[in-house]
Point group: C2
């Protein structure tokens, strides 16, 4: 699957078996960085061709998504007498991608970088698009770069060992992309959703490929995120606010799922999405929540405050990306406070929350 | 002067008077960063339209060209409630450009950045090309990004207050670009060189524009530095080695000047450049050296070692970019040790060194 980029064209290959790891192990001047969880799970199977001495095994989590971890990667690379023509090969999820991608983009102004995503979120969504993000002090994703991997190897059997929460978060993004892919894809999703919940490998492989194709259709000609690509933020107006207000207890993937239900509620109120369809999507999306938000999580004031502070806001009122009946998406910038509050109430109903404070 | 870039097209404007500072001062959501020397020199003249409270005045030197200074810029920007649509406006020389450009390229994956170069090196050379570099621990320029300013304002009267050494280093790059610009430009340079040494503003303005035009001709279609653009490293094989061996006592601009004389010596020996022309260029280039290297600086062993270690080296022998009689440049990768040593001897003669150890 070739992907055009202003920075560098790159490609994704789907792997039938883990033999690609052995082939990658022969890469000259390679420096491997593997997420510690992935290493523990796969060191004696898929990753067995790698000699432990050649691999930097590093823990990656939200608290390590920062410049300090990037500099520890620089240290590792220069210690191995890194040269400008080195290849960084990283194996892990979205945070591994963020940190190793930022390091790859800034070492010698950019070195060759091969990425092997191991989570559903990374495989079906973040591995393409070329964005890297780091937290800086208390600021989430303040720092980052545009830098796609040179090549991405997708091996869906890695997804078998994901935690329920990580898997469900990824599934939320897969569903988001299918919903954004037009009415035919929305129908296809309904036929496939049970197989996806069962982690059926054939269904996963097909869905990951389809999700990437849909994402590519939104990215093309808008790599630097100024117009159409912005529609990929469907679910993010409330999603970001929920992450922030919950102090990141509600993870990104789950927050975006809730944000989509919320956007659908407002789209329905505005007559852009049939109420029956919005309600049916709420049932589907609810299945991917491993933990319901509490009524307190949906208290309007802090959420409205957080939405107003979002760095992507341009005008006086709030922005919202809405799914419409014809399968297209639209971004509006005129969400009123009254609509935003009413949406939270409907959201509480659709998520079957009790003690809904909204 | 428009410049095409894969990242973003940008442009350079030549300013007749300092009123552009007042116009820039009206930029909404602007954050100013001004080199401390420049601020002291111009706060009551060209920079008078800026309120001190709105300006981050920072010292920039080689020891501050690092991630620590970049994070102090992040701190400054978020303290001013920086939003994604902020504009960073920086005023200073090449190091100011490196540090503020890296910060601009990585904050929110890239914010609007306006650069006002105040040194000859920055005006005539580094302001275009989109490269930023940071030192990391003991490693020079290990870290960096490709990120051009959105706009560059050139005001040549800033050059009047440069130190002799800074001015001469910039002049070395101007001469380099003229030499790379073909035989007509080489002739034009001879007619203009005295006015340039006298810092005549009309001559400077014309030469800065011409130097940028020549650089653009080498960059076009090769923004990420893989082929033709590499020829801009004329003078850098020995130049980098001299910087490194002298522990950066010999500054970059001066080291490149010496490196050009050296490359010409070898080109002459290989029959690519007439000895009389190489000798005449040595006389011209010698005028831009504010301090001669010592015989010890040209001791072959450490220089050869440093050239072998250069990160841009690809093959077994040494690379060299040579100017040729027809005005074109050529890169070879087969410089032998014997040639490299003989070149140092000739260099010592042309620089009129006594006690020449080479």
């Amino acid at each position: 699957m070739p992907i055009r980029s202003h920075i560098r064209d790159y490609s994704v290959s789907f792997e039938d078996d883990p033999s690609f790891i052995g082939e990658l192990a022969a890469t000259k001047d390679a420096c491997w960085i593997v997420d510690a969880n992935v290493w523990e799970l796969y060191r004696q199977s898929a990753l067995a061709p790698l000699a432990e001495a050649d691999v930097a095994v590093m823990p990656f989590d939200e608290t390590r998504k920062n410049l300090e971890t990037v500099t520890s990667i620089y240290d590792r690379l220069v210690e191995k007498a890194a040269k400008r023509n080195l290849t960084l090969i990283s194996v892990g999820g979205g945070i591994t991608q963020d940190v190793t991608g930022f390091a790859a983009s800034t070492l010698y102004r950019g070195v060759r970088w091969i990425f092997v995503p191991t989570t559903l979120l990374a495989q079906a969504d973040s591995c393409i698009g070329g964005k890297t993000s780091l937290n800086y002090r208390a600021f989430k994703n303040l720092v980052g770069s545009f830098y796609p991997p040179s090549h991405i190897h997708l091996y869906t059997p890695f997804l078998r060992t994901l935690t329920e929460e990580d898997y469900a978060s990824g599934l939320g993004e897969v569903i988001k992309l299918y919903l954004m892919g037009g009415l035919d894809r929305q129908a296809a999703l309904r036929g496939q959703i049970d197989a996806l919940f069962a982690r059926d490998d054939a269904a996963l492989r097909q869905s990951v490929a389809e999700a990437l194709r849909i994402k590519i259709s939104y990215m093309e000609d808008d790599e630097f995120d100024t117009g159409k690509r912005n529609l990929l933020n469907y679910g993010h107006t409330l999603g970001h606010a929920l992450e922030s207000v919950s102090n990141y207890r509600i993870p990104h993937g789950q927050a975006v799922i809730i944000g989509m239900v919320y956007a659908n509620a407002i789209a329905s109120e505005r007559g852009r999405l049939a109420p029956a369809k919005a309600a049916a999507l709420a049932v589907l999306l609810r299945r991917t929540l491993t933990a319901r938000p509490t009524g307190e999580d949906l208290t309007p004031e802090p959420l409205l405050d957080a939405m107003r502070k979002d760095k992507k806001r341009c005008g006086q009122q709030l922005p919202l990306i809405m799914l419409q009946d014809d399968g297209s998406l639209v971004r509006v910038n005129d969400l009123t406070e009254q609509e935003a509050r009413a949406g939270l109430t409907q959201l509480g109903h659709w998520l079957l929350l009790e003690g809904n404070a909204a």
